[in-house]
């Protein structure tokens, strides 16, 4: 114990090595953003930076939840489907059932959290593989979304319209502050929760070694189930943000988005086996994915399929990097 403290205190090298994935991620973002700013005019403008936040808000919010689950060594493949379900559920409640937007939105968030908690409970109590249970959850949520309506529903409620049409002028550019604001708040709260609370440390301890965490007397079950519940709730919030962005509900929203969310987390330097990572990395990860997408959109000559290929390649590079780092640290100790 004393040795570890001495190492942490004195060895600058180990401090850097521990945060290397994070530093690499931040470096890649700066590099990408810098290159894109030089290459394309107006890329480094207030409007575009704001847009980076608001158009990636659903993915970012989702990735924060995913980070919590991956910290604990789990995975949640249902988030995209939960977002799609929320999207159609809220609009259907408002349009076909005449609910006021506020209770409808609260109900949707609660439903997402309940589904997440249920999956977490099955994973923990019945010791089932997380990816299988959440895969079933994905089928369930998508099926439920189609059950509500396969056609898209447009929102007409005046209160909701006001939320959707909310714009602000920042340095001469018209922007949508609501999605970007939610993203910033969720990210800040996520960083607080993951890095500076007992819950966050418990998550990392469980991801590092569940038996050890159990022997240490940590509330393993409650922590895991809470992580899945938060992830489900945040996925529902992501669906809500999309409803704000588009002003309509669509049950096919979010197909394949769970993979993007996982990619964001991994590119952010979080170890997929759990136990290591930083919520700030997820913030960088979302900016990287956003920059790639924006650059491809700015270029116009590259097909959008490159987004997926580059995401895949980045995933590969980061996972290999993590392997190498892990091997190096294992050799050291």
């Amino acid at each position: 114990m004393a040795r570890a403290q001495v190492q942490e205190g004195c060895d600058m090298n180990s401090f850097i090595r521990q945060r290397l994935p994070l530093l690499v991620t931040a470096g890649i973002f700066l590099l990408l953003f810098g290159a894109a700013s030089l290459r394309y005019a107006y890329f480094c403008s207030v409007g575009n930076v704001f847009n980076l936040f608001s158009s990636n808000a659903p993915l970012g919010v989702m990735a924060v939840g995913m980070t919590l689950v991956i910290f604990a060594g789990g995975i949640d493949l249902s988030v995209g489907a939960v977002a799609g379900f929320t999207n159609i559920f809220v609009t259907a409640l408002m349009e076909t059932h005449g609910w006021h937007p506020v209770p409808a939105m609260l109900a949707a968030l609660a439903l997402g959290a309940v589904l997440g908690a249920a999956m977490g409970a099955i994973i923990h109590v019945f010791k089932q593989p997380a990816f299988l249970v959440t895969l079933a959850g994905m089928f369930f949520a998508r099926g439920a979304a189609y059950w509500i309506s396969t056609a898209s529903i447009k929102t007409t409620h005046p209160f909701f319209q006001q939320l959707t049409d909310l714009t602000a002028k920042v340095a001469g550019a018209t922007v949508h502050p609501l999605p970007a604001g939610i993203l910033v708040v969720v990210l800040a709260m996520g960083i607080m929760l993951a890095q500076y609370t007992r819950f966050g440390r418990n998550l990392l301890a469980i991801g590092g070694s569940e038996p050890s965490a159990l022997l240490m007397g940590l509330p393993v079950g409650a922590t895991k189930i809470t992580a899945y519940a938060l992830c489900g709730g945040l996925a529902a919030l992501a669906g809500l943000i999309n409803t704000f962005n588009t002003g309509s509900g669509n049950s096919i929203y979010g197909i394949g988005m769970e993979l993007d969310a996982i990619a964001v987390v991994v590119i952010g330097g979080t170890l997929l086996t759990g136990g290591r990572g930083h919520m700030f990395g997820t913030f960088c990860g979302i900016l990287i994915i956003g920059t790639i997408q924006a650059a491809i959109a700015f270029d116009g000559s590259l097909s959008s399929s490159w987004t997926r290929i580059i995401t895949g390649l980045l995933l590969l590079v980061f996972i290999l990097l993590q392997r190498l780092l892990l091997r190096a640290t294992l050799k050291k100790t």
Binding site: I75, I122, V125, F126, K127, Q128, P129, F131, L132, V133, L135, A136, G137, M138, F139, F140, R142, G143, A144, Y146, W147, T150, G256, L259, D260, I262, A263, V266, L272, T273, S303, S304, S305, W306, T307, R308, I309, T311, G312, L313, L315, L316, I319, L320, R323
Partner: protein, 344 residues
């Protein structure tokens, strides 16, 4: 208090027999679904002859199940090594797009199209296999990479659009009949027999199970576990290629986005329902075969009962969770305790 012993033993032997034959569950499920269909839909078991072809719901089930059947072979092997392959859907899309583009550009010889496709599938499998066995990345993550990138690659190959397939020789693969029976399920069944003979008549099957059961022990026993795992992923890639060819041939159209979508999930479900444990170490090809048929029968049954195909994933999810919970140790222990308490 009177007869605790016999009740206990009966309970044990019942559990033991279930444990011994994992194919019992999908078979029971199939029988149950058959019964439901017998009651609710008259024409379910009717097979009629039309222009020398046998047609009917049963034939449709086999025909539509053949893609998942073929995927299930490779997935069973990969899961038996303790792994998983999430990329099969994307590999199907890559292969489908490649085959369609080849034929569009005038390569109409069927053997060369099939050879290139299978080679491509094997290459994809090799990439997965190397990432898992050489780079030692956990299988979910390793195959996730190709799952994400594969759709992009497929879009790139096809130019982003759907590619129509007008080669009728090729379309015969998915739509043809052999002796009045649809060709696709025959091909799938032959594949099962061939792979079963290959695995059980040579030591390969044992190697795969050993690598999945205890990798360290197998390596110390002199087994090249890395190569065995790699082989499983290559076989899975080849199966995905065959399934991809079959799907685009059936639809006569390769769509980089929708070809093979969610098929990886169906394949995994078929394997799990078939009694191959996700922890690896054992496999049961017959179980996977029955599992794939069960999934398709369930889909068709739900259609008959009035559940639209879009909503069908919902009951499917409930089914898979139910199967998992039944297989879980916690439930078994709990049930065992209940039985014992009831007996005493």
């Amino acid at each position: 208090m009177k007869w605790p012993e016999p009740a206990n033993r009966m309970n044990k032997s019942w559990l033991a027999s279930v444990k011994k034959s994992p194919a019992v569950w999908p078979l029971a499920g199939l029988l149950l679904l058959g019964l439901i269909n017998l009651i609710f839909s008259r024409n379910f078991f009717t097979v009629t002859e039309l222009d020398g072809h046998y047609v009917g719901t049963l034939m449709d089930i086999f025909k539509n199940a053949s893609i998942v059947l073929i995927l299930g072979v490779g997935m069973t092997l990969v899961i038996a090594t303790g792994g998983i392959d999430l990329s099969v859907g994307s590999v199907m899309a890559i292969v489908g797009a490649t085959a369609a583009v080849m034929m569009k550009n005038g390569v109409n010889s069927l053997p060369s199209v099939i050879a290139v496709s299978i080679g491509l599938g094997a290459l994809c499998g090799l990439v997965n296999g190397l990432l898992v066995s050489w780079a030692r990345i956990q299988p979910i993550v390793a195959t996730l990479i190709l799952m994400v990138a594969g759709r992009g690659i497929s879009q790139l190959i096809s130019g982003g659009d759907q590619v129509l397939i007008t080669n009728e020789h090729f379309n015969y693969l998915g739509n043809g009949f052999l002796g009045g029976i649809p060709l696709a399920p025959i091909l799938a069944t032959v594949l099962y027999l061939a792979v079963w003979i290959w695995l059980r008549r040579s030591a390969t099957g044992l190697f795969i199970e050993a690598a999945g059961d205890n990798e360290t022990a197998s390596r110390f026993a002199g087994l090249a576990t890395g190569r065995v795992k790699c082989l499983a992923y290559v076989v899975c890639g080849i199966c995905a290629a065959m399934a991809g060819l079959l799907e685009v041939s059936y639809i006569r159209d390769a769509d980089p986005l929708s070809t093979g979508q969610y098929k990886e999930l169906d394949a995994i479900f078929a394997v799990v329902i078939g009694g191959t444990a996700l922890s690896g170490g054992r496999f049961n090809l017959l179980g996977t075969y029955l599992g794939a048929i069960l999934l398709q029968t369930l889909t068709v049954t739900m259609l008959y009962v009035g559940v639209s195909s879009a909503v069908a994933p919902m009951p499917k999810a409930v089914l898979i969770i139910a199967v998992c919970l039944m297989q879980s140790e916690t439930t078994r222990r709990w049930l065992g305790r209940k039985f014992r308490r009831a007996a005493t």
